[in-house]
Each structure stands twice: as structure tokens, then as C-alpha cells.
Assembly symmetry: C2
Homo-oligomer: 380 residues x 2
């Protein structure tokens, strides 16, 4: 059971601030959800996630279904107790991960027939399975099984995929009504490739089925940035204003600023966590690569304006040293910083919307980006 | 500046409890020092080390000399501020690491001529260098450069190495008197292979030079366990009772119990941290391998009698899952548990000595080991 309330709307843009209420806690929006693929947001503990400002995290159904498997999760009555995270969790349906990681043998009307990327074992996941697995995971927000398509895809392929996604969405809704009695909420996923008319058709079909929230799927699949933004810009206004709008798998800090301005409420992305492990750190003046030799003798904090524990306690030289030695602590300290950066950015945007100064915030965000602040800074 | 005071002595064994006072804090003995090879105890933060009960940590001079290098450490006036650990630090001299990791080109009267195991670069480290580098590192306790020999070694080789070690010890003392003006203490290292008469000769020569503490080096280099114990047993009583006695690079929990009973005060070993990263976890009932399939469906804590945060918050099934997925969090949670286990074991031994019930403690320690507690438990 999910309750969403818009509490402020920007008069300058389509940005809005709201609250999603779940049984496990309130989620202020716009919100970024750190990705906890296999029952852990890589390198950090639940306590650290909270200290970074996370109000909800994402779990990947595909990974959790394969490892540890639903029967282990059932021993703990769900993912929360298994991983010791007591806040809300959103699980994806597994569709995107099957699309991007598994070896798909067949997509039929009935679902995905695929082989595990871990051990090659064969599995069939139907829309009903996707609901049932996510219900076992005990997620607070669950997603319909959808068919994601690569970019580029011709209109015929995109249309076929969206129609299958729509039929699956209907089956998911039915299955959820039959089994979703543990207080979770079900979201539909808009597909349609980069074709505005197909996006519209997908959105309208899903709204007719009626979900607790709507996601824009099939973005960030290889298309140029401006096409992604155009597609989001035309799709988001099609979705009902009284429901949360979730842009899946996106993106850079600037992407989030733009998409919030278009009215998006929810995001998830591996970028802050994955890039942290690759030494790319996000700062108020741009993204820096901590492996840059420039940092070797730099005793200052990574971002003097950052309030994270990494910046409070450790220097650029130390972070550079840890990363250069591939020390385990490097991945953690980097991840804490990047997650704090992303989550704090969302908090700043929420405050800007509440104060109806989102355009000023947006201008200041770009103003602060400064490739000269530290050599090697990348503002893209 | 180091002050050591024995505060209790076992009437049943040679075990004793004491306090080493340094400018950066008091160290209750017997003490275990977690190994922070490259400016970090792998996978954990300084805060976590303190929560696990660490009062002093060890840094490896060889690694730190190569990376980040002494000029980076100098920017921070030492290792403490670089790694954000404000407690005491002991650094080894680098000798053992050169012996075990580097490609040694030559050992001469003057020192080690070796090539870095990282980039093959060539370096010469003299006894004076070892003091100077450790002084730059800002360690509270520093060690003389010694020549470690492999096992087996004939008496002639062992004798030559101990004589070189003695001459180097004299040079280290002189260099320390000239440069060691920053409040650190210098320890000598007893060598002599597994030959009691050579161990005696080494100990007597070092005592004549006079150090703030004495280490037994050259153990755990491949010799059988009973030979290591015999060598420690005959060497430890040779050392002056008013100075700390440090057994380097040892060992298993049972080794520590035995060596404390022989009068050893200080230990360091990679075992709790390295084995944690390989999935071996120490418990009151023995060592278990968390990868064992037996743990997959086990929702209980790793060791119900353990007070660490890992055991308080996470289950065997979760630790098994994280390790199986080689998640970064696995290494951290395992390391926290093993360090807590080791440090708590030392605390229990200190309490047992203070209460003059060390033999009872020792008997109970072995009594609790139970290979049937969990299948796959190893009590060696």
C-alpha cells in the first residue's frame, strides 16, 4: 500500500517534491535509490547507507533469484532481514538484467527462457513468476516484467516489445491482486523505444490497467544523450501527476538535475557505486579520477564542500594511495563519497523545489562545475 | 619514550599482564596488533579497529616505503594522520618483507640490495635507512633491521645471520640515538634459527646493546609447530622480565594462548585478516569455512557467544552468500569478526592473568573447541 503526495511544485519547471509513504518508512522525492544488486549495496553496510542519506534501496530480482535463491530469502521472510536493511526496498522485475546479463534462449508470450550468467543453468520466468519472486523478496515496491529492447531498434521491434510488455503488465497486475497481499505496491513500466507515439501508446495502456506508480524503462540502453532526454521529456508528462514517476537506470548528476526538472520523482543507477570502484568520484566541481598522479601529494579533502565521512576523515593523497594499491578500503571510502554526493544532490533538489528556486539551483549546479578546479576534472 | 609495567603475573604459568605506555596511548598486554600493511588494515576503518578492541596496529615499512613513499607520509607528518589512526603504531623494519616479497640482489654488511615486488625498481636499505624511514613514518615503536633466514637453515647460516643482525642492531641503536628524537622506542630482534645456543647468543648480545623491548623473530617461517613452540619456549625466558617481549608474525588462536603462557606480551599476524578474506572465520568452537554449503540455510549468528557487530547483525547464511558472491562487504564483515575474536581473546587472557586463573582459562579455551558444533569446523 503506497501513498504518494506531491507537497511542492516548481512554477519554473515541471519539478515537484513529494513523499512516498510505505509501511517501512517515508521516502521524500525526488529520490535516488542506491543499487543493491545481490543483497548488498556493494562495499557498504546498511548503517552507512543511512548515514549517506538513503531512504530506499533497490534490489535486483534476477541476481537474488539466482543467488542466494528465493528459498534462502524465505527463511528470513524477505530481503530486509537477510541483509539487515529495515527501510523500503524496490525490486526490479529481473527483465532488464535478463536482457543485459543472461543468455536468453527464447522470449515467448509466456516469459523469458534464459540461462544463468553464473552457472549456465536454465530458467523460465513468467510475469506471474516475477510477481511471486518479488513477493518472496518482500519488496515494498515491485515492478512488472517488461521486455527491454536494445538501441537502435526499428519501430516494428519496439511496437512488438511494448505490446508484449503491456500484456505482461496486465498479467502482473492480476497476479499481484491475487498474491500481493503483503503491503507492497506494483509499478508499470513504459516501453516504446525512442518513438514518441509508441511511448504514448504504452503509457496509456498501462494507465488503463492502473498502477501505483509508473516507470520509464528502456532508457540509457546505448542511445545518444539528447535522444534519451527528448524521450524522457515527451514521456514523463504522459504519466498521471498523482503517481510517482520513476526513470530507470539513469544517470549522471546532470541527468538527474535535468530529469527532475522534467518531473521525474525516482531514480536508480549503478553509476555512483560502480564508478566509485573504478576510481571516479563525483564532486561539486565535476567528476575526478582519483588515480590521477596529481593527487599523490594532495593533503586536502576530496571535495571541501562535501559532508561525507570520507571527505571529513581522509585526504586526496590517501584515497589516491588506497586506490593505487587496490585496497578494499578504497572501494568503500569511494562508494560512501559518491553515494553521499548523489543523495545530497537529491536533498538539495528537494529543498530547491520546496523553495520554488529550482531554476536557480540548476544554474548554480552548472556554475560550480569547473574543470580547472582540479586538473583531470571531467564535467560531462 | 616507552614505559612498560607488569601489573600481574600468573603463579601457574609464565604469563603476565602489563601496560605499555606510549605518548599516543596505553597498550594493555598481552596484546595482539592487527597488521596494516599499506596504511590500512585491509577492509576496515580506524573506527572499526577501535570498536574491535585494537589498542595498537602494525605498519609494514617495506610496503609503505614503496607506496605511498616516505615523502608522501612526510606531508602528513607520519602515518597516523595519513591513515587517520591516532593510537600507537609499531612498524617492522622491512627486513622480513624484503626476505619474503622482494627479489633480493645482495645482502651485504651494508644492508639489503633488492628489487621492489611491485615495479622491479632497485633499492638499498641500510640499518640507518630502516631507522630513518620508520622515523618518517612516525611510528611509536620501531624495529631494528634484521636478517631473517628460511627454515631449514644449517647452524652456520643461522650463526652468520644472527651476527649480521647483531651488528645491524648496534648500528640501528646508534642511528636511533642520533635521529630518534620524536618519542619512539626501539626494539631489538632475536634471531638464531631453531638453535637454542644461537638464540641465547643473540638475546645476550642484544641485551648488551640495550633496547626498550625485545622481539623473537624468525619464527613461523615454515618450521613444524612443535619446533616453533620449543624455540619460543627456550628463547622467551632469556629476555629481561622488565621489558616487553614480542613474538613476531604468530599465529593461530591456540598459538597465542600457548605463547602468552610462556610469557610473551606482544603479537602480530596476518592470520585473522587474511583468513577472513579467504572465508575462514575463528569462533569459540573452532575455525569454520563460511563457504561450506552447510551455512547456506543457517539463519543463526556465526558465533552466538561473540560480541562483534558482524555476529550481532548478520547471519551465517548472509555471510555465506556474500562470500560466495565475493561481495566486498564479505571481506569487511569477516575481517571485523576475526579481529574482534583475536582481540577479545587477548582481553580474556589479560583478565585471566589478572585473576591468576590463566590455566583454567587455557583449559576452558580447549574445552570449548568442538568440531561437532558445526560441520566443517577445524580446531587446529
Amino acid at each position: 500500500m503506497l501513498d504518494f503526495k506531491v507537497i511542492a511544485t516548481s512554477t519554473q519547471t515541471r519539478a515537484r517534491a513529494g513523499i512516498i509513504k510505505t509501511a517501512r518508512g517515508h521516502i521524500p522525492t525526488p529520490v535516488f535509490m542506491p543499487v543493491g544488486t545481490a543483497g548488498t549495496v556493494k562495499a557498504v553496510t546498511p548503517d552507512e547507507l543511512k548515514a549517506c542519506g538513503a531512504s530506499i534501496i533497490l534490489g535486483n530480482t534476477y541476481h537474488l533469484y539466482l543467488r542466494p535463491g528465493r528459498e534462502v530469502i524465505r527463511l528470513f521472510s524477505g530481503l530486509h532481514r537477510f541483509m539487515n536493511w529495515d527501510g523500503p526496498i524496490l525490486t526490479d522485475s529481473g527483465g532488464f538484467q535478463i536482457f543485459s546479463l543472461a543468455k536468453i534462449s527464447k522470449i515467448t508470450e509466456n516469459g523469458f527462457d534464459f540461462q544463468s550468467h553464473i552457472d549456465g543453468s536454465r530458467h523460465l520466468i513468467t510475469p506471474e513468476d516475477a510477481i511471486s519472486i518479488q513477493t518472496d523478496l518482500g519488496a515494498d515496491i515491485i515492478m512488472c516484467l517488461d521486455e527491454c529492447i536494445p538501441y537502435p531498434a526499428d519501430a516494428g521491434t519496439a511496437e512488438k516489445a511494448l505490446e508484449l510488455t503491456t500484456r505482461w503488465a496486465r498479467r502482473c497486475k492480476t497476479a499481484w491482486e491475487e498474491t500481493g497481499r503483503n503491503g507492497n505496491a506494483l509499478f508499470g513500466i513504459v516501453q516504446g523505444g525512442m518513438y514518441p507515439d509508441l511511448r504514448r501508446r504504452s503509457a496509456e495502456a498501462l494507465m488503463e490497467i492502473d498502477f501505483s506508480g509508473y516507470a520509464v524503462g528502456g532508457l540509457s540502453v546505448g542511445e545518444p544523450k539528447d535522444l534519451m532526454m527528448t524521450t524522457a521529456d515527451t514521456t514523463l508528462p504522459l504519466l498521471p501527476p498523482g503517481k510517482p514517476r520513476y526513470v530507470m537506470g539513469v544517470g549522471t548528476p546532470a541527468d538527474l538535475v535535468e530529469l527532475v526538472g522534467m518531473g521525474a520523482d525516482m531514480f536508480d543507477c549503478v553509476m555512483p557505486t560502480r564508478n566509485a570502484r573504478n576510481g571516479q568520484l563525483f564532486t561539486s566541481f565535476g567528476a575526478v579520477n582519483i588515480s590521477n598522479a596529481r593527487f599523490r601529494h594532495d593533503a586536502g579533502p576530496l571535495d571541501p564542500s562535501c559532508g561525507c565521512t570520507t571527505c571529513a576523515r581522509f585526504s586526496r593523497a590517501y584515497l589516491h594511495h588506497l586506490y593505487r594499491c587496490r585496497e578494499l578500503l578504497s572501494y568503500r571510502l569511494n562508494t560512501i563519497h559518491n553515494l553521499y554526493y548523489y543523495l545530497h544532490l537529491m536533498e538539495e533538489m528537494r529543498a530547491a523545489v520546496r523553495g520554488d528556486r529550482f531554476q536557480q539551483f540548476r544554474a548554480a549546479f552548472y556554475e560550480k562545475l569547473d574543470p580547472d578546479a582540479v586538473p583531470g576534472t571531467n564535467i560531462d
